[in-house]
Structure formats: C-alpha cells, structure tokens
Symmetry: C2
Subunit: 287 residues, 2 copies
C-alpha cells in the first residue's frame, strides 16, 4: 500500500477512505507533512499569537480561510500560495486518524474522522512537522531509526515553557526524538536548520539534554512508540555505551498539550500524533 | 533637555552630539525605541535565524542594507518601509552610549560612540524594545515605576534557554522587569500583547516566577538599576506584603548575553542597555 502512496493527494485519499491508519513517516516522499489543530473560533486569535511567539514548536503554515472551512486553507507562508497547499481537501477525514478533546480532556483517540464533531464555528490550524525533513536527512546518508523500524517517532512532554499568549499561560514544549551518532549531530543540525517552517534545527541533543528538558525516562514516551536500539532493545540500555545519542526537535503535538494545560472549553480536534495531513506542496517549497 | 527631545530624530541627534547619555525610557514619546547589535558578517545568518527562532526576546525589526552600512537599514517588518525607519541615521553615534565586546568579553561599557570599532564587514541588527509600549501602558493608567523614578529598567539574566541557532547553542533569555499591582496584570498583558515586534505580552509574572526564571535576588540586576518600591526601598522588602508583583518581559539585551555565551570572535558592538536607538517610525506603526 505504502509504495503506491507517492503524492500528498494519494495519502489524503487513502486516509479519507480509511485505507491508511498509521504513521505517515516515509509516506509520499518529499511532500510536506503537517500537524492539525482545530479550535472553537473564540480561541483562534490567542492560538495564532501562541504560534507567532513560539515558531519552533508551533510553526504556523496555514489556517481555515473562514471559520467552518474544512476544504479551503489560507497560507501563512509568503512563499506558498493558498491554492498550492492542498487542492482536494477535507480536514475532517484526510488525516489517517484523529484525537478529540472535550473541555481540555482527551475523550477520543485514534478515531478515523471528525465528521460528527466539526461545526461551522471551528477554525483549523496547519502546523509544520519534522517528518518533513526526514527525506533530506536520508539523502545525506543518516539513518532515521523509527522509520527503518516502521515505528512512530517517539514524542515527550517537557518542562520547557512556551512564551505565554492569552489563555495559554502554562504551556510547555512537546519534543520529538531521533537518535543519531554523535559525529553526525553537526550534519543533522546543518541539514534541518533550513526547514524553519517544519521545526528547523534541533532544540537539544545528548543524554544530558534529558534533565534540561525534564524527561525522566527515554523509554517512557507520551506519544508515538518507545525508541529502540538498532537491534531492538530499549534505548536507555545503551546510555554511555553507544555512539548514538538522542536528538530532540520542537514538535507539533505541542498545541495538543497546550489545549489540555489551558483546559480549553468546548470540542477541540487534532491529528493522531505521527499520522499527519500530507499536503500537495513539497517540503522544499516552504524554505 | 528631555522635554525638547520630542521626536526620534531629535533623540538621535542629541545622542550623536553626546548631549543625551542615559536611559531613553520616556524620551520622544510614542517613537519606536530599539536595541542594537553589530556583528562581523560571518555571524549574520546564524543571528538572523536566532531571532527568527526566538521572536519574543529577539524581535528583529531591521538590519544593515549591506555589510558596513551604518546609515541605511532594510526593514524586516512588512508593515514598515525601509525609508520610514530612520532617515538621518548613523548607527555608530546615535545610541546614547554603547557596549563593545572582544572575543565574547565585554571590553568597553557606556562609551559614547563606536566610530573607531566599526568596519566595512560589520552588520547591524535593530531589535524591538519594550520601552516602546510604556506610553501605551501609561495611557491605560498604570504606573511605570522606573520611569517615574528616573531610573533605568531592571534587567536580569535567566536560565530560560533560547532555541539554538548555529553557533548560538547555549543562549538564555534576558528579561526586563516592571512591578504592577496584581489586579492590573491582565490589563498589562492585554495592552502589551499587540506589540509583538517590541516583545509583546510578558513571559512571566508574580514572585514565584523568579524561581522558574532562575533569578535569585530581585535586587541584584545584571543591567539597568535595581528596582525600588514607590517609597524608595529595595523591592524584596515588600515580598508577600504588597499588592505589587514583578512582571517580566523578553528583553533585547538577550543578544548581548548570547554573544558572550557563544564567545563570538572579533569585535561586537551593542547599545548600552536602556539607552536605545530611537527611530522615525512610531510604536504603533509596527503593529
């Protein structure tokens, strides 16, 4: 199945028809992947500013043209035209799976669509995803571990505060993690640096980053799959005994964490972490 | 003197002629005030990205049109034209006073100009300043303590990390502090929120923010003057015994701290904290 999903449009159609319900990492190579957050319109301005003040975890790419629009997006990037984002689009069905929050609490996870929850008052935000620079890393010759193991990228809560915006006063970064060889870190930083709208360069790296981020256990992920060594053991087993170290990026699940921290009222929807909206434009179109 | 400096141009000329050599807080009411950082050109791209990734402490407003330009700026804000920034400008003289760094160390402070240090390889960056929303706060009826006491705003190092960019891997926020009554905090947040290019709403407030920011002693400032109560006592004396609490904003001295943390080689120049470049455009032109 995966091999036939070679475009963003094909990935969206497969998700719409419930034929693809897992991580989109590696899918539709070089097409832009994106996080989704859908809010009642009264929270839209505070969220827009949260993104503007925290562009590393929350790089805003686009939003609904008008409240209630699930098929039309306006671009926030001067280099991408509205019509090039996603031509045949239904935000209610085109992510593989979704999370649904009610009054700040997760009430449904990994559901196939949000057709019954969507209202004419909902505003969708499309946010860059670090899966969008994985193909550039592969081209540079480094291994993307979770992709090779057909697992979802590990994601963690941190204690790193976001810059507050309105109701969002106690939000913290969510990060994704990929292990790399120590000697490849500068290469990995240099390649991902250009991809500002898809989180850019890592925010922390090395085993000592765990304490700074407030991650207690590298094997205890909050989203995605626990990381494994190349031979399938828990990653902590190689602590101090391997050339591989964890490298952390800002993650577009941060808005879902922010929704819970702020206990937003009403129905909020988002993609199921790792299972992204795939766009018509390419990763390199956003540079 | 202050009363005659009613425009940005007048403030720059007074600084140029060494007739104004102190804080510009309250000067040239409603004219945009700005931080300055001048780097060897090889660091320009990493610094530009540091600003893009950390727009709250480092909101980039403009930069030298070309390396070596001290009289012409190009705007980074779509809402402000290059020619409206500052028409009669000499970045080497038009801040009241300057700091000079060599190989990451402060070697001159509060000097009147940087004429002898400036070279054709230097690139200047102009960054928003929170003194630019003080008049909006005054119009809303709240007191700006340091301004009433004719002192420079208190500024502090924090442990809050910036998102890394290239050589800038261990930078942390610098914050400015103004005390306000607890019941005015939401008003203060609302008024300053619009001023994204001059740091926007505060990043933290309340006495418990000190621990989160890593500020050990509210009276021990790293730049500016120590804060005082209305009747002139050290601020810590009213801890838990006053309606006033400290409110912290991202601060444009952050780049000077970043230069030291990254131990940048060569000659780097900046304004003397609190003594800003005053522009021709108004505070509300950047909204």
């Amino acid at each position: 199945m995966a091999c036939t999903l070679t475009t963003g449009h094909a990935a969206r159609i497969a998700a719409r028809k419930n034929k693809w319900a897992q991580s989109t990492s590696g899918l539709a190579d070089t097409y832009l992947q994106a996080n989704l957050l859908v809010l009642p319109s009264r929270y839209a301005e505070a969220f827009r500013q949260l993104c503007a003040r925290n562009p590393v975890p929350c790089p805003l790419i686009a939003e609904s043209t008008n409240p209630g629009d699930f098929a039309m997006l306006k671009s926030h990037l001067p280099q991408v035209r509205d019509e090039d984002l996603a031509a045949d689009l239904d935000l209610r069905t085109d992510c593989p799976r979704y999370n649904v929050y009610a009054d700040g609490k997760l009430v449904h996870t990994a559901v196939n669509d949000i057709l019954s929850q969507w209202t004419s008052d909902h505003v969708a935000f499309v946010i860059g995803c670090s899966q969008s620079f994985e193909s550039a890393l592969i081209r540079a010759g480094v291994e993307i571990r979770h992709l090779n193991q057909q697992r979802t990228v590990p994601m963690y809560r941190t204690k790193l505060p976001l810059n507050p915006s309105g109701i969002f006063t106690s939000s913290t970064y969510v990060v994704s993690m990929r292990p790399f060889r120590k000697q490849d870190i500068e290469l990995v930083r240099r390649i991902t640096r250009r991809y500002l709208p898809t989180h850019g360069e890592p925010i922390a790296w090395g085993w000592d980053a765990l304490e700074r981020l407030g991650i207690i256990d590298i094997d205890d992920v909050q989203w995605g799959h626990p990381p494994l060594t190349q031979d399938g053991r828990p990653l902590h087993e190689v602590f101090g005994d391997s050339e591989n170290v964890p490298v952390f990026w800002g993650c577009g699940v941060t808005p879902q964490e922010a929704v819970m921290k702020a206990a937003l009222e009403g129905t909020i929807m988002a993609h199921h972490p790792g299972e992204m909206l795939v766009m018509d434009c390419r990763e390199d179109d956003v540079l």
